[in-house]
Chain length 115, copies 6
C-alpha cells in the first residue's frame, strides 16, 4: 500500500518524496501524518486534481521557490495539464507577484514540457 | 487601522482598484497599460475566470497578504465561486505555505461569505 | 479527548483554533490530519516545547506575519518562555530578516507580556 | 487596529524606533550596534539620503510589510521626497513584486502626503 | 521597432526576454501589454533610469530572488551604475531584509562587475 | 552553478561571510558595525548559541533561502547540533511555512551531515 502512496506522491511532488520515504522507517508516525495531509490536499473534491495542480504551480512560482516550481510542474503532464493552462495560471502569478515570478514559472514549464 | 480606513483600502484593492481608476486622468498611459494587463490576466481562455479567481485567492493567502486576500475573495461570489471551493484551494496553500496562510485565507473567506 | 486537543492547540496558536474546531464536524478527516501534524510538531523530543515555541515566534516574525506572531506569542507564557528569551530569539530574526521583522516581533511580545 | 495602537506602532517603527530607544538603557551594547548600523545605512555617500529613502519605500512595499511601508514613508517628506517620486519608485515594485505591493505602497503614500 | 524594444529589455532584465520574445508571435496581445508596462516602469520621469535600476536591484535582493538579482544587475553597467552605488543600495536591503539578502546581492554584483 | 562557484558562494555566506571580511579594509566602519551586530546576535545569553543556531536554520528554511540554509547548517555541527535536532526544528518550519520549506531544509541538512 505504502508503495502506491509513494508513487502517487512522486508523481505529484517530484523530487520531494525521497525524504518522506525515509520517514517511513525512521519516523512512521510523522510519515503517516504527512501522507494523510497530502491525501486530503490532493483528493478530488469540489476541485479536480488538475485544478489543484495549477493552483500549486501558481503558488510555488509566486513564492519564487524554484525547487517547488519544478517539483509541482514535474507532476503536471500526468494529470493532463497543458503548457497553455500553466501559462494562464502564471499570468495570475504575474499580477499578484510580479514579472520575475512569472518568468521563473514559465521557464521551468517550458523546460519540462519541451524536453 | 480604523474601520473607515479599512473600507477605503478594500475599495482601493478591488478588482480595478480605485487607485488605478484615479490613474485614468492623472496618468492615462499607465492606466491603459495596467487595464490591458488586467484584462489579459482575467480573460476567459484555457482557464475560466472562476478557476483564475481560485488561483488568485490561493496565491494571496500563500503570500500572507491580508488585503489582497480580502480583495480577491470579495470578487469571488459574483463569479460563482463557493466557499467549499475556496476551502479546497486553500488546502493547497496550507501544503505549500503553512498553516497560518491557510487560516488567514479561510478566516477572510468565512467573514465575506457568511456575512 | 478532542477538547483537550483544542485547549492544547489554543494555548499554542491563539486565534487559529476556531477554524479547526469547526473542521471537527464539517470535515473530521482533515481535522484528524491537522491535529496529528500539530501533535508531531509540538511533542517533546530532542527539543523541548519551549524551544520549539521560540523557533515558531522567530519564524513568524521573520515572515512578517502579524497574526502568526501574536498567535505564537500568546501561547508562550504558559510554556515558561520569558520576554528576554523572545527578545534574544528575535535578534536572530533581525540578522536573517531585517529590522522591521524584529520590531514587529518585539512590539507584539511587549504588548502581550506587559498587559 | 485601534488608532492609539497604530500611533504607538508608528512611533515604534519610525526611523529610530521607540523600541530601540528603550534599548539605550536596557541593553546599551545592542543599542550602539543598531544605531551604528542605522547610521551607516542612511549616511550620505554615493547615494543621497533621499535616494535611499525611495529604495527603502520600494523594498518595504515589495515585501508587503504595511508597517514598514508607513514607517518609511512617514520620514520621506522631511527628506524632500515627493509623492510623484514615490509613485515612480513603486512602479518598479509593481514590476518586481506585483500589483498588490504597488497598491499598498501607493495607498499609504497618498494617506500620508494628502492628510 | 520590436527589435529595439527587445534590445532595450535585454539590457534591463538580462535572461528574461527570451520568454517574452516568444510571446511576440504566440501571444502578441500579452506581448504588447508587457512591453507597455515595462516601458512605463523604466521611462525617465521624476527618477532617472539609473535610480530605478538601483531600486530594482535592492528589491530583487530583498526578495531573495537570485535570478532577478542577477538579471537586474546585468543591465546596471550600461546605465552607468557603479559597484559602490549598488553596495550602498544593498545596505538598505540589509536593514529591511537581513544579512543574507545583502550578501546575495553583493556576491552577484561583484561577480558581474569584476569579471 | 559550477562547483567552484558554489564553493565560492558557500565561502561567502559562512558565519562571517567573506564579503564582510573584505569590508575590513575597504570599509572598516561598516565592518565593525556588522561584526558588532553579529556578536550580539550570537553571544550566549538566555539562549545558548546552539539554540540560536536552530532558530537561524528554521528561519532560513522558512524563508526558502537555500544559501542561507546551507550557510547556517554548515556551522551547526561545530556547535554540537545534531541532525535530529535540526529535523525537529524544521517541523516547526513545516507547520508555519509549508512542506517545501521543510524539504529544502532537510535536504540541505542531510547533505551536510551525511557527507
Amino acid at each position: 500500500m505504502a508503495e502506491e502512496q509513494f508513487d502517487s506522491l512522486e508523481e505529484k511532488i517530484g523530487k520531494v518524496p525521497k525524504i518522506f520515504r525515509d520517514l517511513k522507517d525512521s519516523n512512521p508516525e510523522l510519515f503517516q501524518s504527512v501522507m494523510g495531509l497530502d491525501h486530503l490536499v490532493w483528493a478530488e473534491g469540489c476541485l479536480t486534481r488538475k485544478e489543484k495542480k495549477l493552483i500549486a504551480i501558481a503558488i510555488a512560482a509566486a513564492m519564487r521557490d524554484p525547487h517547488a516550481v519544478r517539483a509541482q510542474i514535474a507532476g503536471a503532464p500526468n494529470l493532463g495539464v497543458t503548457l497553455a493552462e500553466i501559462e494562464e495560471a502564471l499570468r495570475v502569478t504575474f499580477l499578484l507577484s510580479g514579472m520575475p515570478a512569472y518568468v521563473h514559472g514559465r521557464a521551468a514549464a517550458e523546460e519540462i514540457y519541451n524536453k
